[in-house]
Symmetry: C2
Subunit: 241 residues, 2 copies
């Protein structure tokens, strides 16, 4: 694989280095070539290499040591869910060693409650779409997600949200909006507040509830995501440096 100019160079370098780490060209705990060597090898500036390396270091995949070199973290093989990029539940499930699959449960139009209206910065009673999905880890229900999208932002008010898309892509396709950032509130919820799907094979354990608000770059809340996360089956792990 070689560098091609059309796409952003840093992205290409990131991809190449990511492949080398995943493929074991740079094995765990080994020292990778120096920044200067990589820059020479890939025919880009050292700054560009550094920017690519910085992303991996921030995710904990690479450990950088001044005066020594850059090492592949032993965490690299874990493929834990990294924090910083999109929170992709399918990847989270994969990272925990399960085969992910998605089931669309429900999709309906209704009006916003007072609570939802406040979080979305709209008026109560405004129409919105809700999309309910269930993520399976192998054959077990693992994450139940409800996404809530105000119809006011839809380009085509008649459009029906695609239940197979990631929320970012869904907002892009139906509203033409790009998610700039998102907030996630994490709570523990007790048995009585848990969706029925989870009540079959679990003892009366609490679950995690994630409440996400997706904003565009103008600081406007675009959508909500309310997820019930089976922390008994899936580890919810954050890494920070």
């Amino acid at each position: 694989m070689s560098i091609q100019r059309p796409k952003t160079i840093t992205a290409q370098v990131t991809e190449i280095l990511g492949q080398r780490i995943r493929d074991g060209v740079y094995p765990a705990n080994s020292r990778i070539p120096s920044e200067s060597e990589l820059a020479e090898d890939l025919q880009v500036s050292r700054t560009t290499v550094r920017n690519a390396l910085a992303k991996f270091a921030a995710d904990g995949l690479l450990i950088r040591k001044q005066g020594d070199g850059t090492y592949v973290s032993s965490q690299a093989s874990g493929i834990d869910q990294r924090y910083g990029g999109q929170w992709d539940f399918s990847r989270v499930i994969e990272g925990n060693g399960f085969k992910p699959s998605i089931q669309m449960l429900d999709r309906q139009q209704r009006t916003a409650t007072a609570d939802e209206a406040e979080q979305l910065n709209i008026e109560a009673g405004q129409p919105l779409w809700t999309v309910d999905r269930l993520f399976y880890a192998d054959d077990f229900p693992a994450i139940y997600v409800t996404n809530i999208l105000p119809i006011a932002y839809f380009h085509n008010k008649q459009a029906i949200p695609d239940g197979t898309l990631h929320i970012h892509d869904l907002l892009d396709s139906v509203c033409g909006q790009t998610v700039g950032y998102a907030t996630t509130d994490i709570e523990a919820v007790q048995w009585s507040d848990i969706p029925r799907v989870f009540k079959q094979d679990r003892r009366e354990r609490p679950m995690l509830k994630l409440t996400e608000v997706f904003y565009n770059r103008d600081n406007l809340p675009l959508a909500l995501g309310i997820s019930f996360y089976d922390d008994a089956r899936l580890r919810l792990r954050l890494i920070r440096s």
Copy 2:
């Protein structure tokens, strides 16, 4: 305030810009001066300004718009716990609008269980210190933290860990080790597994349990942190871009 060379320039620029945001020199939702203007103003290169701005953008404090400018996020006033830096519970409590205080509950020497030994990559039965602390939000117990430190890494085996320090500073002072990165696992725990201190003023609600592992830059686990977090009183919020 002016730039001084001895400390890292980016850090100084970051500090200055942070103050201006906090102090309202750059009010929420307003556009801040362009990168070039800031570079000229502070007598540093545009690259340096960009690095400083990038940190705020990653934390969601600033919103950058190509072709337009850089805006202060309305989230800025919330002072929510940002993700990426240290997870400082006192700051979390402040950010939720309470006055934080810390009580040292217990400090003892014992040997590692099999479970602890595995997480710390040591052998079971090795001696370690445990430090139990309780963080109050106003007058209510809000976070219960147990830190576990293997004595093997202590410079002075007789040293007694200081119960007032942040875990990062504690490790620095007692082991001479710097924390390179940390992982946090988040779970929901049921009533029966919750520390007694919380059982007085709560209904039988579950809580959040955070299990942190602190690593040095050589990928060696230095310490554990096990926290019970009252999500009914304190919002646990992550922001990502």
